[in-house]
């Protein structure tokens, strides 16, 4: 076995709970159609705000996926992640048994997942004193609770970790899972990201001026790369993957959707909560990811961008991606967040799932709501409609206003 074979990890299961569909097939159909998951928020009151939209999962019924029992005290974040984990394992036809449970791990990207639970817990104490507090809700207030609940729910006994690195959490989680597999410290890993939509996060982002429509006079819309864009629209959801070594997957005759190659990452220490218009760190991250899998930018068929309709974020990401191609070739760069909204810690996992869709369906996904061209974003963003494309290698680029920037390459290696 050569080195690359011994390091080949594949995705054998995809579980998605998203604003454009629940389950991998519904999500993929949504991507293909360019379905809009952005709608007026119903989970909380937005009447005092100028922003009123989000990628809310209005029809989320966890009991339909997990059964009626045991959900009572779990928060929305945990239920989203549990559903995605169940769907991923079902999709992979993977069962936890007494024999394999010690070799299965869980790693989940989540950063703001417990904000609402902390806030609601505190509120009940402030309003009613200690007597009003339900001790069973306290576990929800810690950030590693959703990952732990996954292991508890499915009786998984291998490692359990939570990665909270903001926008890059899911991609960092994928790298973490890869390392466990390559070091042969796990046979299979449930890996992904989750973030729920809640009043606390929404209003926090609103006050920061991060949301579309949050600045007076701006129209609220989710239109990455479009000249009219003026901020992000939040989304929610969870994507979980079952990741295995290629040889393990082959042995159990599992279907592989593709390979996730090594992560490239770089920290931009210039600002706080602002995108760096120069995109220096993103450029390094992409270079790093390409060199880790010995590929050149020209071998990349399309790019799944983290563009989220923010003015500087989309501009710097488009500019950096374009810089890898020169003037003669306009790269194909689609923004899945135009359909789902900004799903924060889950965003990277959504992008990887989108890349796997493109590889398995030979189709590039659209950037919806695109109308007015912005010359400062020199990419082909696949406006509004998906289209057939021969896809073997996808670059997932993830820029962030919180410093960490990263990139991974998703390839068709391992698909038999």
């Amino acid at each position: 076995m050569n080195k690359s074979d011994s390091e080949k990890v594949v995705i054998t299961g995809i579980g998605v709970v998203s604003p454009i569909g629940i389950g991998k097939d519904a999500f993929w159909q949504g991507l293909k159609e360019g379905r809009n998951g952005i709608k007026p928020v119903t989970l909380f009151d937005t009447s005092t705000l100028n922003s009123k939209l989000a990628g809310e999962i209005s029809d989320f019924k966890p009991e339909a996926i997990l059964g009626d029992k045991g959900l009572r005290n779990l928060d929305r974040t945990t239920k989203l992640a549990l559903c995605a984990a169940k769907l991923a394992m079902d999709d992979a036809v993977f069962r936890i048994t007494e024999e394999n449970t010690n070799d299965v791990g869980v790693v989940l990207g989540s950063t703001m997942g417990s904000v609402r639970s902390i806030s609601e817990f505190d509120k009940s104490f402030i309003k009613g004193g200690l007597r009003a507090v339900n001790p069973a809700l306290f576990p929800n207030t810690v950030i590693n609770s959703p990952a732990s609940e996954i292991s508890i729910w499915f009786k998984i006994k291998g490692f359990n970790s939570t990665i909270s690195s903001g926008f890059n959490s899911s991609l960092d989680a994928l790298e973490y899972a890869r390392n466990f597999l390559i070091l042969r410290r796990a046979q299979a890993v449930l890996v992904g990201g989750v973030e729920e939509l809640c009043e606390q996060t929404y209003k926090g982002c609103y006050k920061l001026g991060f949301l579309a429509g949050s600045v007076n006079g701006n129209k609220e819309l989710c239109a990455p790369f479009d000249l009219r864009r003026n901020g992000a629209v939040l989304g929610e959801g969870s994507v979980m993957f079952l990741m295995e070594m290629h040889e393990t997957a082959k042995r159990r005759k599992a279907r592989a959707y593709g390979t996730v190659e090594g992560l490239g990452t770089s920290f931009d220490s210039t600002r706080t909560y602002q995108y760096n218009p120069r995109g220096t760190a993103l450029k390094k991250a992409i270079k790093n990811a390409l060199s880790r899998c010995n590929k050149s930018a020209n071998e990349i068929d399309c790019i799944v961008s983290s563009a989220n309709s923010t003015v500087i974020g989309d501009y710097s990401e488009a500019k950096i991606i374009a810089s890898f191609y020169g003037d003669e070739k306009k790269p194909i760069v689609s923004a899945v967040k135009s359909m789902t909204g900004e799903t924060f810690s889950a965003g990277g996992a959504f992008q990887v799932a989108t890349g796997l869709f493109s590889i398995n369906n030979q189709c590039v996904t659209p950037t919806i709501n695109y109308k007015e061209h912005d010359a400062r974003c020199p990419v082909n963003c696949v406006p509004n409609q998906s289209r057939p494309l021969s896809v073997s290698n996808v670059l997932v680029a993830n820029s962030s206003p919180m410093g960490i920037n990263s990139a991974v390459i998703v390839t068709n290696a391992g698909i038999d």
Partner: protein, 85 residues
């Protein structure tokens, strides 16, 4: 008096059934929470907190061991309510 006690027992049965996520009928007066109904320490704490809130009482920590069946809980809550009034 007996009716009052039966009413209280029924109320508590419903509250506990909700926490255990089982049918109220399964909680007979003498069914043991841990051995017969699969309870654990977290559920016990939740029951305690819910009872304190509902009946505006304080259950001393050392009484937790005496809360193993519906009969015992009803007796304890009844006496704490009586002491309060």
């Amino acid at each position: 008096m007996a009716t009052e006690r039966a009413d209280l027992e029924n109320e508590i049965r419903k509250l506990i059934a909700k926490i255990f996520e089982i049918e109220p009928e399964k909680i007979t007066p003498s069914a043991h929470f841990v051995e017969d109904l699969g309870s654990d320490s977290m559920l016990a704490l939740e029951i305690m907190a819910a009872l304190e809130k509902k009946y505006d009482i304080t259950i001393p920590e050392d009484q937790l061991v005496k809360m193993a069946t519906l009969e015992q809980v009803t007796k304890l809550v009844g006496s704490l309510m009586k002491a309060k009034n």
